[in-house]
Symmetry: C2
Subunit: 126 residues, 2 copies
């Protein structure tokens, strides 16, 4: 909860860092950044690795990440043209926090599911 | 990107850990957990500390967190009755990852805003 030495305050609804928190907390952002951690990737590779993401959602997510300065987009003028997405240095600083969040989800899924079932049973159904 | 030893795989659209990632990445979740890190709180205290959250959204967020086993709700039969929300042991394990994400947003807000302005200028307007 301490905010000393930070530029923003996510608890202030008017602070733009609240919007940044919303963006980086987005599950698609966490999944894209986790893949790009291993190196540059093409759109089609990203889409194949993130089961269930639509073309529109991936396009929007990548555009937002590019606008936020977290991902760079490079066009290689080959035939056919090749476009690659890569983490910027700032984007790389986000890898560790988001990896921790992704791993938490994967490590605790059994316990969370059990808690949900117990909760629903106490209340007589989901 | 490595998932060895984990129970779930957030890259699999059918894996329930994808839903957990969505929940814990939610900005309201990150803000509530960050406050409860310092100890139990009442509904009204939480609402006061999170500028801009509606009563409905806070109610829903706390109910989801309780169902997921991350927050416990205790009713003290006083006059008037007092209800307190507290992190469970599992909820406490989420503090470090979410604090890292919140701090990232607060530390990088200036750089992200600058990147957005540069991006919009390159494209001739927001």
């Amino acid at each position: 909860m301490e905010t000393i030495g930070l530029n923003g305050n996510v608890y202030d609804g008017q602070c733009p860092s609240r919007l940044v928190l919303d963006r980086i907390g987005d599950k698609w952002t966490a999944l894209v950044i986790g893949l790009l951690e291993d190196g540059p990737m093409r759109f089609s590779e990203l889409q194949r690795c993130i089961h269930g993401i639509s073309q529109k959602m991936l396009t929007q997510t990548l555009r937002n990440l590019e606008r936020d300065g977290l991902v760079s987009r490079t066009l290689y003028p080959e035939v056919p043209p090749r476009v690659e997405y890569e983490l910027t240095p700032m984007g790389q600083t986000l890898c560790a926090p988001l990896t921790a969040v992704r791993h938490w989800a994967e490590e605790h899924i059994t316990a969370v599911t059990a808690a949900q079932m117990a909760y629903d049973q106490r209340r007589g159904g989901p």
